[in-house]
């Protein structure tokens, strides 16, 4: 400025620069909340976070063979797309620590071929991290031929660390038709990760 403000007590430039840095940092912080939130959810099971990646099998994990937990299965189709999608079984009694396979059936009611991505969610949210899938149709996108109906397996076990108060765990799948949109980056990485994993097929 001109002589009008020459009698400044101190120039504010330094403070302003520092504050601008804070602002830039907080902009970054907003983005950092994304991975931080994911890690946080993974650790705490916040908001029904379920890993969409394959776990190792239960191995020789110690468990109580008499304990029973109910696993419920539900399926939802997202958007008004011509699909049917439902679990083959509405519930199973499982022993935490043992491997099970459940089946879901999806049908593409389009004439043409299409691609879907199926996303898992678990209720109660805190049980999510104790629900482990060793093999799942949800790990990668699923291609469907026109009018194709397909039975798809998910192989899972419930971690014996599941708290005693959880007598029921609900596994919910939502099917998204992603035919038109490009596959998000996130999925392709996940797909690569699990390229070796056996894929569902009828």
């Amino acid at each position: 400025m001109t002589e009008e403000t020459t009698i400044q007590r101190r120039s504010g430039g330094r403070t302003a620069a520092k504050m601008a840095l804070v602002a830039v940092g907080m902009f970054g912080f907003g983005f950092a909340m994304v991975p931080a939130y994911q890690v946080f959810c993974e650790v705490t099971g916040f908001n029904g976070f379920v890993s969409n990646e394959a776990s190792a099998g239960p191995g020789d994990m110690e468990y109580d063979p008499d304990r029973k937990v109910t696993v419920e299965f539900v399926a939802t189709v997202n958007g008004s797309q011509p699909w049917t999608f439902r679990p083959k079984q509405s519930r199973m009694e499982v022993t935490p620590g043992e491997l099970y396979t459940a089946y879901f059936v999806a049908e593409n009611q389009y004439e043409g071929s299409t691609v879907s991505q199926i996303i898992p969610s678990v209720a109660p949210g805190t049980a999510g991290r104790h629900f482990k899938k060793t093999e799942c149709f949800c790990f990668t996108e699923q291609r469907f031929a026109g009018s194709e109906q397909r039975k798809m397996p998910v192989t899972f076990f419930v971690d014996p660390a599941l708290p005693e108060r959880n007598q029921t765990v609900t596994l919910s799948y939502t099917l998204f038709d992603i035919r038109d949109g490009d596959l998000p980056e996130y999925d392709e990485e996940a797909a690569e990760l699990h390229a070796g994993a056996p894929q569902s097929a009828d």
Binding site: T5, Q8, G12, G30, M33, G48, N52, Q117, G181
Partner: protein, 527 residues
């Protein structure tokens, strides 16, 4: 309206540059910019208010009487955005611009050019935002909270909304950096931090909040933008994202934002009550600490906006406890204002009336806030008119009343004339009575089960809605009187002395009224 203060500073030896555009477009003078901010805020107050009138008119009776539900949603969304970012924040920034330098004995703001820039971004941002009303699909209609996936259905107005939010964010960040730089560097010798007027303190803390959280909002809306156009899936479950994460990021900004809208009000009331009680502010240092603790707590309570999204128990309990804690420093402030009045010698000019109404009605808003903090009952209150009543008590009878109090309090200093006290009292009583008629019944509506953001409602809610709408129309009309009083005062009136008020204390009252264009070029001595 911008021309109205034109001739008031000319008496001084080097006044403002001649020529309307030269003066107002390129001005770097803190007083000019303060005036610009406040006039802009007033204009937006009426635009946002007109939207509120549409809302209340539609809700006057059950049935879809005037507007389409889609347009109604545009009104609720735009009303919030215009009032928050266009009216209240600019009005506070205007007060800060005008008052902080004269209250700390500085010749101007630390960064005068940035000051000019920060202001002129605002009209640009609002032209973008308001222009969406004329787009084929209309203005944003997904709520000011912009929750995905709904916000991604907006259509053409979506990119305008995002860009406008960015511009408004940059404007307020620049304004705030300037305020921090001014307060930390430009104080007159002897003006230690703990001698600063409460308004300066409140704004220092508010400015830190703005710099900390506005960029987070910018980040959140940037993610919305890339989700919509660049194939990312931060908030889309299909790509491994989570729509609830947006709510976390948004409210990490949003809750401090609520305090950004109220802390400067605390500062204003802390200046006015001691003046008219003729007694020093009770517990100055505890006021400072209470303000700082409220600001700190605002960062860890965001989850109370999200009790219904399905957070695990531990999260809900944490956010419930943290939120309840906010009541403690807020209570301290209320009690301190009461103690300031106790054994004072009070007179009741318009600024004092607005301040007393602020203390009482803000208390109602604060107490319903305590009720809302309780997670098990919030599952009933959430997203109902009870919440609408709560935050309008905080933001209208809180923030807006404090701004009106401030205008009446400092108007003689700005214009050199006393405002019309009789009309001021009329304005106060009309506003105070109608605002309660407007918002008090909304508590009942919410408790009886009326959700917010609906253009039409079940017949059982008809009576309270009609009363509320009548209150709304009267409140809206009463504000025309406010403008008339300001214009009248700018144009003339009884000469104001330099002290203006009998009990006024502080550097600004040592200046003549109206204050010269340049002040404190030589630092005053502060004892």
């Amino acid at each position: 309206m911008t021309a109205t203060t034109h001739d008031t500073h000319d008496a001084h030896h080097h006044g403002p540059p001649p020529g309307f555009f030269k003066r107002w477009l390129f001005t770097t003078n803190h007083k000019d910019l303060g005036v610009l901010y406040m006039v802009f805020g007033l204009l937006m107050f009426f635009i946002g208010g007109a939207m509120a009138m549409v809302i209340r008119a539609e809700l006057f009776q059950p049935g879809l009487n005037l507007v389409d539900p889609h347009f109604f949603n545009q009104m609720t969304t735009m009303h919030a955005l215009v009032m928050i970012f266009g009216a209240v924040m600019p009005a506070f920034t205007g007060l800060a611009n005008w008052l902080i330098p004269v209250q700390i004995g500085a010749p101007d703001m630390a960064l005068p050019r940035i000051n000019n820039w920060a202001f002129w971004l605002l009209p640009a941002g609002f032209v973008l935002l308001l222009a969406t009303l004329f787009l084929p699909g209309g203005a944003p209609a997904g709520g000011w909270t912009m929750y995905p996936p709904l916000v991604l259905q907006l259509g053409d107005s979506f990119p305008f909304l995002i860009l406008a939010v960015h511009i408004l964010g940059i404007s307020s960040i620049m304004g705030s950096i300037n305020i921090v730089a001014t307060i930390l560097n430009m104080r007159a010798p002897g003006m230690t931090l703990m001698k600063m007027p409460m308004f300066v303190w409140a704004w220092l803390i508010t400015a830190f909040l703005i710099v900390a959280v506005m960029p987070v909002l910018a980040g959140a809306v940037t993610m919305l933008l890339t989700d919509q156009y660049f194939g990312t899936s931060f908030f889309s479950a299909a790509g491994g994202g989570d729509p609830v994460m947006f709510q976390h990021i948004f409210w990490f900004f949003g809750h401090p934002e609520v305090y950004i809208l109220i802390l400067p009000a605390f500062g204003i009331v802390s200046a006015i009550i001691p003046t008219f009680a003729r007694k020093p502010l009770f517990g100055y240092s505890s006021m400072v600490y209470a303000t700082a603790s409220i600001a700190f707590l605002s960062f860890i309570v965001w989850g109370h906006h999200m009790f219904t999204v399905g957070m695990p128990l531990a999260g809900q309990l944490f956010f419930m406890y943290a939120t309840m804690l906010v009541a403690v420093p807020t209570g301290v402030k209320i009690f301190n204002w009461m103690a300031t009045m106790w054994q004072g010698s009070m007179t009741f000019e318009t600024p004092m009336l607005f301040s007393i109404a602020f203390v009482l009605l803000f208390t109602i808003g604060g107490l319903s806030g305590v009720m809302l903090a309780l997670a098990p009952v919030d599952l009933q209150y959430h997203d109902t008119y009870f919440v609408v009543a709560h935050f309008h008590y905080v933001l209208v009878t809180g923030a807006v009343f404090s701004i009106m109090a401030a205008v009446y309090f400092w108007l003689p200093k700005w214009t050199g004339h006393m405002y019309d006290e009789k009309l001021g009292k009329w304005h106060f009583w009309l506003s105070t009575i109608s605002v309660n008629v407007l918002f008090f019944p909304q508590h009942f509506l919410g408790l009886a089960g009326m959700p917010r953001r609906i253009p039409d409602y079940a017949v059982q809610f008809a009576e309270f809605n009609m009363i509320s709408s009548i209150g709304g129309f009267v409140f809206g009309l009463a504000q025309l009187l406010f403008v008339y009083i300001i214009v009248k005062c700018v144009r003339g009136g009884q000469k104001a002395s330099s002290g203006v008020w009998e009990g006024a204390k502080g550097l600004e009252w040592t200046l003549p009224s109206p204050a010269p264009y340049h002040t404190f070029e030589t630092p005053p001595a502060v004892k």
